[in-house]
Symmetry: C2
DNA sequence: CACCACTATTGACAATATGTACATAGCATG
DNA sequence: CATGCTATGTACATATTGTCAATAGTGGTG
């Protein structure tokens, strides 16, 4: 207790935007779906629940539609509150490919940093 | 006129904050150093140059000092503009360990997403 | 000396991203 | 009709980031 380390310890909320996009595109690649379900499915892909809050997912989906990565239509003829059904577009599929490629770059960066990290005390270059 | 694909293609600037922090801590673990040099060294660790702009690095270093991860002092007796020399603190070393641990989680997430990505058309599950 | 280039740090501003909380609305149940 | 679940959306505050400019010391050139 009472040590002064809290400030750097209390992990600030991770920035998951990039991963959320990928997760949503992956889910939508499986087929048309709507936000409420997508938000519930994301944690199953490994995304932190905290980042998969509904309002965040809805906002992101609208954004992705603006960008042309997904398209939406209102589900017709079902009971309960209306659902906005999203589908991945061709552009979205391309974007997914690009995002995954960039993920590889990120992995490479991480490995590089990890290598330096583990080169402990070894100060030479 | 032009097709409408540009919007999602032109890659938005990556968010490197987390990696920059790690890079700076790794560099400072090698020994005291100042911003101008640190900004030049980061790309050698694999960080994109775009993210290693001086003003960004200076700002981040000040921020990290506020958080107690690094400490600074003015270099005495040298010619040219004064330099603010940074050192990593004990807390900074701990934070580095934590950041690296979280990097592993990120790697796990990436692998998981990649697995789903490559399970192409395989909609089952 | 006037001018320029390089080193070195900082501050200010706008744009974007994110967290959080709330608002709306349909339907079902007791 | 109060409550709770499904379902979507909006609004506001804050955090992060990119960009640009300001300041300052030193050295070289004409």
């Amino acid at each position: 207790m009472g040590n002064g380390q809290r400030k750097s310890q209390n992990q600030p909320p991770r920035r998951m935007g990039r991963f959320l996009r990928i997760g949503l595109l992956l889910l939508l690649r499986r087929g048309e779906n709507y936000g409420y379900i997508l938000a519930a499915e994301l944690p199953k892909l490994g995304l932190p629940r905290q980042s998969s809050v509904h309002s965040v997912i809805y906002r992101l989906l609208r954004r992705m539609e603006e960008e042309g990565l997904v398209s939406s239509r209102w589900e017709t003829s079902q009971r309960g509150p209306r659902r906005r059904l999203y589908s991945i577009t061709r552009q979205g599929e391309i974007a997914l490919d690009i995002l995954m490629a960039r993920l590889l770059e990120t992995t490479a960066l991480i490995e590089r940093l990890a290598a330096v990290y583990h080169a402990n005390g070894d100060v030479s270059q």
